[in-house]
């Protein structure tokens, strides 16, 4: 297989994966990170767990939605085209769904099936987000007790105070620059 064909195969793979994920990512992109990790690291072997953790870190280094990580991962796998196509594939199907369902959802707001659907999905999205925090912490902090301490302090500060999350990210980045993480 020549380079161009291989590359378009890769792009197609990214597009179809994220387009499907877009429609099942209840709880948002943050809650889907273990699934993305499973696919990128364990199934496709596009990168190691450590690189996945680093790219998750860099996606948090810039302002923007949580979704940024999808574009950053796509860039690493297939360059600028991979970044743009992954990002758009993750955004578009759910947007179209939201566009068409938005009106319907408001119209049926008091129907029992609508209430049961929303109430039934809520615990699953919480379990998903918890799994995401768990997997990300193990992946990002692997082998460094300082990293575990940063994650732990961040959890405590975030839950117990109203401190802006940027302070936690800044402190983590600073410790990292000094080579202590």
């Amino acid at each position: 297989m020549d380079q161009a064909a291989m590359n378009s195969g890769l792009l197609l793979n990214l597009i179809s994966y994220f387009a499907l994920l877009s429609l099942i990512s209840f709880g948002g992109v943050s809650a889907s990170l273990p699934e993305i990790h499973r696919y990128f690291v364990e199934q496709q072997h596009w990168m190691g767990s450590e690189e996945f953790a680093r790219l998750f870190g860099i996606a948090n280094a810039a302002p923007g939605p949580n979704m940024m990580v999808v574009g950053v991962l796509g860039y690493q796998v297939a360059g600028p085209a991979g970044a743009i196509l992954s990002f758009v594939a993750m955004a578009l199907p759910s947007s179209i769904l939201a566009y068409y369902l938005g009106g319907i959802w408001q119209r049926f707001r008091d129907r029992p099936w609508r209430i049961a659907t929303q109430a039934g999905l809520a615990p699953l999205t919480i379990g998903l987000l918890l799994a995401s925090g768990y997997v990300l912490t193990l992946t990002a902090d692997h082998g460094s007790w300082v990293a575990y301490a940063i994650s732990g302090c961040t959890v405590l500060l975030f839950m117990a105070t109203r401190i802006h999350p940027l302070w936690c990210l800044g402190a983590g980045a600073l410790l990292g620059v000094f080579g202590w993480v």
């Binding site: 877009s22 429609l23 099942i24 209840f26 273990p34 680093r54 790219l55 998750f56 870190g57 860099i58 948090n60 810039a62 302002p63 923007g64 939605p65 949580n66 979704m67 574009g71 950053v72 360059g79 970044a83 990002f87 758009v88 759910s94 947007s95 769904l97 939201a98 566009y99 369902l101 938005g102 049961a116 039934g120 999905l121 615990p123 699953l124 919480i126 379990g127 998903l128 987000l129 918890l130 799994a131 925090g133 768990y134 990300l136 990002a140 990293a147 940063i150 994650s151 732990g152 961040t154 959890v155 839950m159 990210l169 402190a171 983590g172 600073l174 990292g176 620059v177 080579g179 202590w180």
Partner: protein, 179 residues
Amino acid sequence: MNRPDVPPPAELFLGFAKASISGFGGVLPFARHMLVEDKKWLSEQEFTDLFSFSQFMPGANVVNLSVCVGSRFHGPLGAFAALMGMLVPPIIVILLLGAFYVEFGQTSLMQGLFRGLGAAAAGLVLGTALKMGRTLRGAMPILFAALAFAAIAWLRVPLILMLAVLAPLSIGYQWIRPR
């Protein structure tokens, strides 16, 4: 309350474009500020209604929110304008970040920086999840949350498989549950 006229699509694009790269670790607070306090396109209650729907739907919740707000004012054209505002600036940032990572990402300084950021960002996801977990009430919802956690975190089951099994059970439980 004095409500301004319906914002034109170009305004929607610019408003969401600005909000989309205003925040680190999430756009939501900035989108809310823009919509409710700054531009006054939505009331507090309208924002809460649209956001709870956006959060419930699959996909990035702020992206869903932009689509709902845009379509409310200008149908498909408004939805498209707001969505583009939400997507275009982050794409530019991603391209810059990606090029930067390829060029400089391998230095030990940068590797350390990303590790530190990753550790803090992972803590933020965990903290958010625990905060949300405190709102769970009742034995069955807690059981379903625990099963979803175990399937993804420990058994490494594909997301679609987990949802195919647990979503009907959890929704079915809510359907038959005595109220």
